[in-house]
Subunit: 315 residues, 3 copies
Amino acid sequence: MKHFTQFEHRSIADRLIDKALAYKKNPRIDLSKGLGKRVGCIFLNPSLRTRASTQIAAMNLGMEAIVMNMDKEGWALEMQNGAVMNKGTVEHIKDAAAVLGTYFDVLAVRAFPSLTNKKEDIEDFIFSQFIKYAGIPVVSLESAIRHPLQSLADMITIQEHMIAGKNPKVVLTWAPHIKAIPHAVANSFAEWAIGCGHELTITHPEGYELDRKFTQGAIITSDQKEALQNADFVYVKNWSAFNDYGKIHSTDSSWMLTENHFKNAPNAKVMHCLPVRRNVELSDEILDGDRSIVQKQAENRIYAAQAVLSDILEE
Amino acid sequence: MKHFTQFEHRSIADRLIDKALAYKKNPRIDLSKGLGKRVGCIFLNPSLRTRASTQIAAMNLGMEAIVMNMDKEGWALEMQNGAVMNKGTVEHIKDAAAVLGTYFDVLAVRAFPSLTNKKEDIEDFIFSQFIKYAGIPVVSLESAIRHPLQSLADMITIQEHMIAGKNPKVVLTWAPHIKAIPHAVANSFAEWAIGCGHELTITHPEGYELDRKFTQGAIITSDQKEALQNADFVYVKNWSAFNDYGKIHSTDSSWMLTENHFKNAPNAKVMHCLPVRRNVELSDEILDGDRSIVQKQAENRIYAAQAVLSDILEE
Amino acid sequence: MKHFTQFEHRSIADRLIDKALAYKKNPRIDLSKGLGKRVGCIFLNPSLRTRASTQIAAMNLGMEAIVMNMDKEGWALEMQNGAVMNKGTVEHIKDAAAVLGTYFDVLAVRAFPSLTNKKEDIEDFIFSQFIKYAGIPVVSLESAIRHPLQSLADMITIQEHMIAGKNPKVVLTWAPHIKAIPHAVANSFAEWAIGCGHELTITHPEGYELDRKFTQGAIITSDQKEALQNADFVYVKNWSAFNDYGKIHSTDSSWMLTENHFKNAPNAKVMHCLPVRRNVELSDEILDGDRSIVQKQAENRIYAAQAVLSDILEE
């Protein structure tokens, strides 16, 4: 069974990027492909872009999308095997996922990490329960450790903006934030950028090392200035500490990018997955200026999801 | 006007079961039947299966379904006739139901009991207000005292699993729970099982007698062991006391079914409407074993709803 | 770009009314007009009629509607330009509106006033941010100061019930309420009724003067009895004080209309936008009697929205 949970292979990524760009030119070309097929979109956490872009992607393929915001609708799921359910949870993931598996052709699931239970988070415990029990293809709408639809949209956006024939220098830079933020976007971006053959530099303050599983092949430095030198694409993202799990070590505002940071990278484009905390993660001048391609990334979320759903329908 | 609120007649039930089984084989055979028709799904209480299965049933008939979660969306309805609305309620059921009646072709409504006001609950007061004022066909998505779409799905599931030519022994057994639970599922199951001609035995601890209105024709005993003897189908469900209204009298865990309980009913299938509190209402070994047909019941919710909506469209 | 935010010109209003009445006769006549077009419905505040009627209007035109209840889904938007977003807001309106602008063909937005910041409210600050940043046509589903889809539905309803050849006397009367209520419905009704050439009388207790911007051309009096004399249509609505902004000055229950109030206006029809507080704003005898056309207004919300969306699709 074909799930979509992570980067698998460059050939697959390239195919999905091509497919997405074709859909972007002609969104409804496959309007009959998903006729009579249903995708259930399960949100255990809030969403704006992901929900809307997934629904639109499904509609563009003629599929029906049903959204369930389980976080807001008081349907607390039990995740522990063998639990005696005499407390707050009302239904076991085993039973809920299996029912959803009989109701839909594809399940799309958002399940954030706790940021307190490192073991469960790095096993992607909650998300993997859906895969285990649903019995149908599952698409990640962001799990505890990955956000592959975002990363696919990011790769599409880089593809659209890179100079032909030049292997771009891609930089992932940590940015300050006031809250403890998951690692999923940063992990996935590293996984996909490296997998797609981009030259990736990751820069962050000491103590913000990401899980090595995702960063093999990247240059890693705590010197942001050096990292930004000659950059073509700069991906800005906060994440909390991974080693000292879920903690905030630094809120050093000098890490927030301003025009000053781009003296040695005059043509660099700036990326962010949104939502962005303005003037905390990124300055207004960057977001409102010509470097920013954050809106392009958001738009490409539609076509990333459409390519992935289309692929699954071909199974 | 044709509402769907309860068991009416065996011939109607048989027709709906046949129709549902036909739709299960070919879900989209009537895709043009509901074209241009709309069902409004009003939830005064949370829902997972009911909401999704009703939406899917509507889509399978080409209908448009619009869901309104009025419990979560802060739209407190006034139910008392003549009320001076100078407190928390923002709209009278009279006005809200009448508007919904002009917006939709069918209204589907979920309205749980208070479990504190017995008189209003047994009159199915809130649900009946929707019928009174909507002016269009109303389908129960579970009212204070009945859950007929669940029961129809249950009858379909029994039909699929019974041995041809043998009148099955059907048992409804009370199970422990940590909360005060409505009587709707138990009432309706009794009403439909008896109405469909099944031999029904109901077993529960002393003090958990159901409203006699629903159980006429059933054997009732507080000896669970005796009840389970030679059972073909065992429906497991908690409910709170009816006489001492809404109270929890027992949480005796020996009532929770385990494999040990089936020594004298080796071929019995186990049913539950879900969500189920694992290892409180039912043991993991039952739910994860071959006796369990709870997922089949859940799946049949789609076709039960589809048969009922289809019937209403024929009016 | 064509937005729909207020009364523009009598010729436009007349065209929309005619179009709406044509759709009412034949709701699906333009089912292919909106094919492949999407409207995003953004609710920063709760809604029943507006949400359902807008979705239905879109469906009647073959459009896809996606609803986002941002009030309930914890997506607090930052509205201040240049804000350092180190507090509760998670996304700037600039970014959110721009993304929504790439996802949809039309944006429909509900944004109530604060009733505490008069300057921002009368500038319609939040709503105008969506217009500023979305880059696509925006439809008001009620802003801080106007509710034009309601008013268009009201004009349609008057059109349907007026006596041919007679210019009706239209009265807008303040009514008591227990909460501080926005001015949007009253403002818009005045704006549209005057703009459509109706003779409008506004009556309210001293201290409840509306913003003069909306009431130019109306007769204004604090003598409700005199105002009601020979009325053909009486629009009942509460609003809080405008000068002493957002305050409740009177809850004088003698302003609540009963049959007694209609001695000198025997044929008057009574209107209200709903939801209505029964026996606070309006008596049961009026709402349940023959004068009430409040359900007609609610029904016409569908066709008002359909006419407006249809107009935008013609751009």
